[in-house]
Amino acid sequence: MQWSSAQPPPPGTQPPAAYPYSAATAFTPVQVRQTFGQPYSAAPPASYPSPPVYGPLPTHPVATPLHTNPAAPLTVASPSTTQEPAKKKIDWPESVRNYVQRSFQTSNLDPSVTRAEMEAKLKETISYANDQGHMYTVNWEKMPLPQEMIKEERARARALQQTSHFSALSISPTSSKKRKSTDFSEGAAPPWRNGQNRLEDRITFNADKRPAPAEEAQSKTQSKFQKQLEKRQKRFDGGYKSAYREPTPPPSDGPVVGTCETLEKRYLRLTAPPVPSVVRPERVLRQTLELLKRKWKKEQNYSYICDQFKSMRQDLTVQRIKNEFTVEVYEIHARIALEKGDLGEYNQCQTQLKALYKMGIKGKSIEFKAYRILYFIHTANRTALNDVLADLTAAEKEEEAIKHALDVRSALALGNYHRFFRLYNDTPNMGAYLMDMFVGRERLAALCNICKAYKPDVPLRFVTEELYFESDADAAQFILDYQGRDLLEDRDGTVVFLTGKAKELFEGPRKAAFSRVDIKGQI
């Protein structure tokens, strides 16, 4: 429907229209309006170049050439220049001329309608008829005069504004203005409209009540441009439905305020603006947190807890709550995720925490900064590591957790596995869970070193201690895992690790372990 330009255009498109009334048109007829002194405030920015100057009986060039490229606002420039050469020759039938004369007759002039408005309306009515090819078929004798049409529009617009239908649709002010201007051109009952002038038809907010069928029923000779217009609308109504659901509260309304009182809530990914009745306000969320803490201690059911925490995070986000409570929620979830080795969730929380700390909200920023360093070591992300180093202040570098993480980093950079495992033994907070992630590959690297450097053998106990295995058995198991059966020998009661025979055995696994780090798809 033509008047869909009443709605704010979906992102990325211009609502194209041949019609002078829609804002931001490919034509620049709004400027034309200005020459008639129209008081429209819905004028698009007047930065377009000169409008084609129209005489009192304007010839409207056919709209079609414009709409080959509707979505590019830049084509604005070219059409207006091509309009001038493309003027059609128009034949004015006698009846039209009479109609015009009647409109201008003083006896018919209406004081409430300015001459300028009337002229504009007249021009429009005639050019529309011309475009539609109805010039000869319209009954100009019976046609209501422009001023009557205008009065009718105004009355209707006033009536409609009072209906609650409007507020339900919550249309922004500019669009209602636009609708008024579109009302204008509708006219009292132009014959070609077949009386289907209902506002409902014109508003395409109502995604269910597609205007298209109504339209198609109407005029048999729809111009190509109109068809394209509808196609475009349909495309956007369909494709953008998820973002343009009806009724859509305009973004400027602010965050949602929740009213739900239930403590627990399952997590569901959002695809539309949230409904307040299922969003929990902060005070309820605080209670939820306490409940979840207790439940976690008691039941240790990770999937349940994760689900609940995600929904809490969601509630906090849609209500734009960013305070110490938010930080607390994220921190707890991060720690739980770490404990269970869920790097994906951990990483999400970590990203949010970083932003929150940056805003200045208090929390355990040192602890989590240390985690970040360890995480980057795990993913071998040199750029990020570099950036983190750049960010650290001298004071932070003295903090225990961060110092530890930095020491881990430098130990690994130099291949000092001895120091690395000593540090692993003594990790503050929950960093050990993070280090668990890459202890395996570091052990492989250390083994390679040991195999090359120590000849002919070392006691297994050495391996256990250096590489910080829980026991000799674990160390042996590790070696066996890599087909090291032949390297273990029992000598006088102690097990010996034959480094001399190991050769390149551990090199392959070591390379493999270092080549790909699986971050479970969540940067």
């Binding site: 409008p51 830049l74 995600k310 995070r313 570099n386 180093l389 001895h418 090359k452 450097a453 000849k455």
Partner: protein, 452 residues
Amino acid sequence: MDSLIRTFSSAQTNREGYQLAQTLSPDLPQQQLQAIWNSCVHHDAQNVIKRGIQNSTSGFERLPKDEVQGWSDVYLAYWKAIGELLPALNQAPQSSWTKVYDAWKELLSALYRGYIGQGFEAWSIPCLYVVAKNLRIFALKADEERNNNVAAGDTSGQIFQDDFDPESEQHQKLEDCARQLNRIFTLCLNDRAPLEESRKWGIYYIINLLFKTYFKLNSASLSKNILKTLSAYRGDMPPLSAFPKSQQVTFKYYEGVLCFLEENYFQAEEHLTQAWSLCHKDAMKNKELILTYLVPCHLLTTHTLPSQRLLEPYPRLQKLFLPLSKCIKRGELHAFDLALLNGEDEFVKRRIYLTLERGRDIALRNLLRKVFLAGGFEEPKVEGGPRVRRTRIPVAEFVAAISLGSKKALEQDEVECVMANMIYKNLMKGYIARERGFVVLSKSGAFPGTGV
């Protein structure tokens, strides 16, 4: 506007790409910009420009209608952009670099359309260079301005995710610029015209701009994509050596730095050395940049240090590298650590910290070598035979040395570990006999590469 059109016509007649590009530059003195802006009235600009262009070429040189339209679009967009640029330069309250950026983007789009649909010819691609280069500059300015003005408040928009979207705003315009540049890249790449008339000649310029942008955006992965695309198309393209030297140097430099950042030191060294050799002898800043990465690279690949003579013309680099080099040569671990700490900020900024850290290995090796040398010689097995150094060295000696060198006491285990590393990295040849507490070094070449 007239002077622009005159230049345009002469450029068209002579097919001078660079001259044509001058007409689209925003780097004119403010008065000139003002004059251009004033020369057209708003609603008339379109026609004035179009007429001007139509009349600018005559006779055999007359431009086809498409091209006229295309060029008038371009100049119109340029004119509008100047309209935004002037208030921004004057820092008028209503101005904003964002608007300048957007207007300039329109110019780029107009130019792009010209090449795609309206038959602009390939010799005019310097226009693309100028416009693209300035797009990037405006993007940077717009971002800076936005970041300065941004309050801690929310940005608008519904949130359909579970969490906030941190830090996506910071380089918004630059990211957009990167996308635009990518379009131009594809434009140049996909030109099927024969080589003499192809847009492919613009490719390296655009690539270099893209690299600069991606580096600023800190995304090495996107840069890698470019390299991949380039190698996929390699068959069709003229070789790098056929392009202007300036483009070659820049390209090689970026390629080298990319490899460097991925710890691919051997390749990085290759690229950087090429860049180094192609570089103009007077281009001090460029050379300095290349060296900043070449020196650490060289350090790791060949374990050699920059000579005094090399670094002499570059006081900044001297300050960076010389203290470290000295400590490495002498094997002074503690001093090395200190020097690294001192220069840390600078190194981190240039992303060479992690690489230079590895220099410690070399310092260590030098230290151990000293121990070896200090151990003296063994009695020759055969009278009059060559003297061989003592190769069985008690670990305790190393322990002492390292503790002295790093000014803290290390346990034996740790020292052993350190030496295991040396051996593994081929900085030392031998093995550790743990039970006996000895390190047995190879008789011939215990410390490869040092002549011992």
